[in-house]
Symmetry: C2
Subunit: 160 residues, 2 copies
DNA sequence: GTTGCGATGAAATAACGTAACATCTATATC
DNA sequence: GATATAGATGTTACGTTATTTCATCGCAAC
């Protein structure tokens, strides 16, 4: 496991790598990595935390890239559909993907104190849920796996 | 496993048992199982599907049990807080609990075609996510586990 | 050059959720 | 029984999240 996000790391490379990955994948898939889409991804990559669509929209507005909700939602839809970002259902908010290369079923660790969100791989959910689904004859197409709690940094000082 | 919901079963007993369970637990815990709370639980128990707060409110309104959003949300908060119902984050909606007796971390199978929602036990999420969290030093307090796909009934005719 | 398609701009509205405050009701205590 | 208390409800107003719809633009294919 390489659950970064809570660990100290070279965050500048997170951003650069994320944008580069997305750009490359769009090029090879014939997708348009437009200025708004790029900028939204950058905004998400700026921090390992979930941002609401309206938070993002506010930034776009300040920069003259758009002012109405659909601008943000459309860019986010694009990023999510193509695996460059994920929606955190628990928070009605979005994060940049941390594993853009591989096709994956994401799982998230959400710190309720500092708002950090770490993405963990969770190979096809082969655990209890997979068993239960198989036994019930249920075909899983998509999973939402989100754990809320305290990250190591916040667990020390306060919280728990 | 006893993932009902998709299976044919005596649904009348689901409702009766659910209400009885909630009533008993409220009595023994000194909680007030008021008419609105009871009715909202009944509404949820009426089908193994998620209902939005406003859908529920509409029913309450028709029956003269309340007309403003807080009425529905308060009853739902009560039911969720006390383990009689769960929120499906993916749908911003609510379902009655299927395992009211035990203290449990719920997981859900959501059919995108018919809207049925089955609840599966998922003992403290000791799978991949638990490992990842432990390794990262993250303390899990609450989990959201929701799988979306096709239930056995819907998988036959259409969908997939 | 025109046709077609995907991306944007913009207005309006829908859907989901909460804050705040007044009022009422059921106990518990005296 | 009167009174104090805590919890439940009624109501207004508002805040947040998300979508529908239609017009316009830019670019590439034909
Ligand atoms: Zn980083
Ligand atoms: Zn990811
Ligand atoms: Zn049933
Ligand atoms: Zn349950």
């Amino acid at each position: 496991m390489d659950t970064l996000a809570f660990d100290r790391h070279d965050h500048r490379s997170c951003i650069a790598a994320g944008v580069a990955q997305a750009e490359a994948q769009c090029a090879s898939a014939g997708l348009q990595f437009t200025p708004v889409r790029r900028r939204v991804l950058e905004i998400l990559l700026a921090g390992h935390r979930a941002m609401g669509a309206y938070d993002i929209l506010e930034v776009l507005r300040e920069e003259g890239l758009g002012s109405q909700p659909p601008v943000a939602y459309r860019a986010l839809d694009f990023l999510v559909s193509n695996g460059f970002a994920h929606k955190i259902e628990r928070l009605n908010a979005f994060v940049a993907c941390s594993h853009m290369t591989e096709d994956h079923a994401p799982a998230f660790l959400i710190c309720r104190a500092c708002g950090s969100v770490a993405e963990a791989e969770i190979r096809l959910e082969r655990g209890r849920l997979g068993e239960a689904a198989a036994q019930a004859g249920f075909t899983i197409e998509r999973t939402v796996v989100e754990a809320e709690g305290l990250c190591p940094n916040c667990a020390e000082g306060r919280g728990a």
